[in-house]
């Protein structure tokens, strides 16, 4: 089972990338009560029959791994959501794409930690393949809000090939600086005019 909420996001985002999508849109939106994630792709989508089966841990389409008889990404997520009375939705149309959303109440005693968001965004952006990805990250607190958006093609145009460790180090530094600003907002170390 995954250790953090970001691990679930990595899993679902990888499904989107591997669905043949040319565009994957990810949102990570947090307030003082909950954190919500959405992953939307324009990949191959699912038929109604497949959509009903993907919640079964003993179902896989067998394309990625010929001898594999389990598919655990979505079942893991649903189990975790149900354990903390969160929310999960899956909407998909064959040939059009898929949208997965999930929300976790942060103050539930069994809610896993959010995890390392910059590292998760880095791993989503640098997964192999020719796809566009837009990641929108928002922190919405009662007195102030902030956020950032990362576009894969824009980062690649600035930094170069994502397979180079030097590029990934720069991307890591950039993402950490964005998230650090949100941490400052969360801890109240930055004064923001009301």
């Amino acid at each position: 089972m995954h250790a953090s909420l970001c691990d679930f996001l990595s899993d679902i985002a990888q499904n989107a990338i591997e669905s043949g999508a040319s565009l994957v849109e990810v949102a990570i939106i947090e307030n003082d009560q909950a954190v919500a994630f959405s992953v939307k792709d324009n990949g191959k989508g699912m038929s109604e029959e497949v959509r009903q089966k993907v919640t079964d841990p003993f179902y896989t389409d067998g394309i990625k791994h010929k001898k594999r008889t389990v598919g655990l990404g979505i079942p893991f997520l649903i189990q975790a959501v149900e354990a903390v009375e969160g929310e999960f939705t899956l909407d998909s149309q064959e040939g059009k794409g898929t949208l997965v959303t999930f929300k976790f109440p942060l103050h539930h005693i069994d809610c896993p930690p959010v995890g390392n968001i910059p590292l998760t965004i880095l791993s989503m952006l640098s997964f192999s393949g020719a796809y566009e990805m837009v990641v929108s990250r928002q922190l919405q607190l009662p007195k102030a809000s902030d956020g950032y958006t990362v576009v894969r093609s824009e980062m690649e145009a600035i930094l170069g090939d994502f397979s180079s460790s030097g590029t990934l180090q720069l991307l890591r530094t950039y993402l950490q600086s964005q998230e650090a600003a949100l941490d400052d907002l969360r801890t109240g170390s930055v004064w923001r005019p009301g």
Binding site: M1, C6, D7, S10, D11, Q14, E18, A27, I29, N31, A34, A36, S38, K40, H65, F76, T89, D91, Q93, K96, G97, L99, T101, K103, N116, L119, T120, L122, S123, S126, F127, S128, Q138, Q140, A144, S145, D146, G147, Y148, E154, I158, L159, S163, S164, S165, G166, L168, Q169, L170, R172, T173, Y174, S177, Q178, A180, A181, D184, L185, V190, R192
Partner: protein
């Protein structure tokens, strides 16, 4: 039709936090490029592939990926190829990492954590010596016994 739920309503557009801008990122990239040009680094043909399937993620593959990036940075190796793959089929020893380096046989390491990742950089990539305790696939046993030499 795919609907888009309003997760928490409209996000606040307010900006102004002191965080790195794209222009600052460009400048940082340019300064690093200059440093790379000055240093004829070894390891241009080296590849590190981190297994990032469900099993890998659950076992801590992202922490391993981060450890590789940190150690490569610490050792000033900036041109190693670091990529991700899905499950490599060795779910029982996740996180798994394949390392392909010049003058070394390709290796799949298993049960890799942050400390092992650092050892792989220093021993396997920098000193051409396999980390035998964590070899789980690829080279034959006689190669492993000899420490990869």
């Amino acid at each position: 039709m795919i609907y888009e739920p309003a997760l928490f309503g409209d996000p606040d557009e307010e900006a102004g936090m002191a965080k790195m801008t794209l222009e600052e990122l460009r400048k940082l990239r340019d300064s690093k490029k200059f440093a790379i040009k000055k240093r004829d680094i070894e390891g241009k043909d080296t590849q590190i592939i981190v297994g990032m399937g469900t099993c890998g993620i659950a076992a801590g593959a992202k922490v391993v990926l981060d450890a590789f990036l940190q150690e490569l940075d610490a050792q000033q190796l900036e041109n190693v190829s670091v990529t991700q793959s899905g499950c490599m089929g060795l779910c029982y020893v996740e996180p798994t990492v394949e390392v392909i380096a010049p003058d070394m046989p390709p290796v799949i390491y298993g049960k890799v954590d942050a400390a092992v990742a650092k050892t792989i950089i220093r021993d396997h990539i920098m000193h051409k010596k396999m980390v035998s305790d964590h070899v789980f696939d690829r080279p034959s046993v006689d190669i492993i016994k000899d420490g990869g030499k």
